[in-house]
């Protein structure tokens, strides 16, 4: 139920609708929750709604992320410590 599919916005149709594509499949998605979304952005789509704009990671960013966690860097921790 909480499945989210990363899709690329390929065309804005109206202020609240856009065409999104993933693996060659196109769908109209509602963009009410990400009104600032632009053509070319990647979004997380859940039940036909774009829920969040995804910061698209290139391989280089994935490498940086993995190297950071292996180095034990707490750069991505944002929680509270006791």
């Amino acid at each position: 139920m909480c499945l989210g599919i990363p899709m690329k916005i390929i065309e804005r149709q109206t202020p609240s609708r856009a065409v999104a594509e993933s693996l060659g499949v196109k769908r109209i998605v509602c963009t009410d929750f990400v009104p600032e979304v632009k053509t070319g952005n990647f979004v997380l789509v859940h039940v036909g709604y774009a829920m969040q704009i995804i910061e698209q990671w290139e391989a280089s960013e994935r490498i940086k992320f993995l190297e950071e966690i292996l180095a034990g860097e707490g750069a991505i921790g944002d929680g509270v410590s006791k």
Partner: protein
């Protein structure tokens, strides 16, 4: 041809896997028992099982399912009400696929459909509005099921119905909130628990801050992560690092999607339509402030109010331990019905029906190991 950067990612993943196993072994040696980590979200249960990580780490790490499968935690009373509504002559029921085969006390939606009820599957709740416009003499009811991830979409659908004056549309609202259920689960927790894997897509809406209480109130290292294999592994590695270092905090291992304070726009639309209320959960009974009800003038869109039905008290499903499995106090393997009398093709309880249910994940991906 594999690019150099992809090869580098693969090598790094293997290194993370190796180091995660080393970490797990160190912790096990220190504790003198297996590490127990709860994955709160049902999608994580399935993703870990499907990736092979559940089995790979089984000797040193128990991944225990929590209460994060919306179909599984829907109370029998609600299932019965939805099936009864679908059986009304004037009703056309629109539902997400997972709900179709959940057994009610008398029947499932699928069985009701076989008897002539009009039940349609949807991908998006907006499809319910198309059905309502296409069949103006029918009363279209949407099963509003899900957690914080789905609530904004249901709320937005309601606003569209209002805007377009679609009056033959209602919602059977059973939307629930994860943090109150997690608190209830942790309060009655009777087993060793070393850390939590928090639901990435719920947090995309609520923000990771909504789960800070797991650290400061319950002292549990917690990691928000995603659902692809690199996310699962990165999340697990970070969580085990925290457990080893006794770091009590909430980390975000899914920063490409999850922000600290979530999606404010989605939260606003939910607040516009719903009020928080006490709600009945399978396995828990009533949890205070754990669900949404339509508020103000929106309440005319509540299916329970438009169609008041008197139903007998819903009974337990005989022999079914879904309630305990949802609370993390039993594993599917401890249920005497599992695999023999309860299977995905002939489910007794909801945890075997839903693709996110713990029993279904065990059956599909781990059963031969049992």
């Amino acid at each position: 041809m594999v690019s150099a950067s992809k090869k580098r990612v693969t090598n790094l993943m293997q290194e993370v896997l190796r180091q995660t196993m080393d970490l797990a072994c160190e912790i096990v040696e220190k504790k003198g028992r297996r590490i127990v980590v709860m994955e709160v979200c049902g999608t994580h249960t399935t993703a870990f099982a499907r990736s092979g990580l559940t089995r790979y780490f089984a000797r040193v790490l128990e991944l225990r399912s929590g209460s994060g499968c919306p179909v599984c935690v829907t109370h029998q009373q609600d299932i019965d009400y939805i099936v009864a509504l679908a059986s009304l002559e004037e009703v056309l029921m629109v539902t997400f696929g997972d709900m179709m085969r959940v057994p009610g006390s008398v029947s499932s939606l699928e069985q009701a459909k076989a008897r002539g009820a009009r039940v349609h599957l949807c991908y998006s709740p907006l499809e319910a509005l198309s059905w309502a416009q296409r069949y103006p003499r029918k009363q279209v009811i949407l099963t509003g099921i899900g957690f914080e991830t789905t609530a904004p979409a249901i709320a937005s659908t309601l606003l569209e119905a209002k805007k377009n004056h679609i009056d033959n549309f209602t919602i059977y609202t059973t939307l629930k909130l994860v943090p109150p259920a997690l608190r209830a689960l942790l309060q009655k927790q009777s087993f060793n628990l070393d850390g939590l894997i928090l639901p990435g897509h719920v947090c995309a809406v609520t923000g990771s801050k909504a789960f800070d209480f797991t650290a400061w109130q319950y002292g549990l290292p917690s990691v928000v992560t995603g659902f692809a294999e690199p996310d699962l592994l990165a999340g697990l590695f970070q969580l085990l690092t925290m457990i080893k270092q006794n770091e009590i905090s909430v980390r975000n291992a899914y920063p490409s999607v999850v922000r600290e304070y979530g999606n404010r726009k989605a939260q606003e639309i939910v607040e516009q339509c719903f009020a928080v209320t006490d709600f009945l959960w399978r396995g828990f009974s009533i949890i205070p402030k754990s669900g949404y009800r339509l508020k103000g003038e929106n309440s005319i869109f509540e299916a329970r109010d438009r169609f008041k039905l008197e139903l007998p008290q819903a009974g337990e499903l005989p022999g079914c331990r879904c309630g305990e499995i949802i609370c993390g106090t039993s594993s599917p393997l401890q249920c005497s019905l599992f695999k023999d009398l309860c299977t995905p093709s002939k489910p007794v309880g909801p945890c075997m029906v839903s693709a996110e249910g713990a029993c279904n994940a065990y059956f599909q991906h781990l059963a031969e190991a049992t």
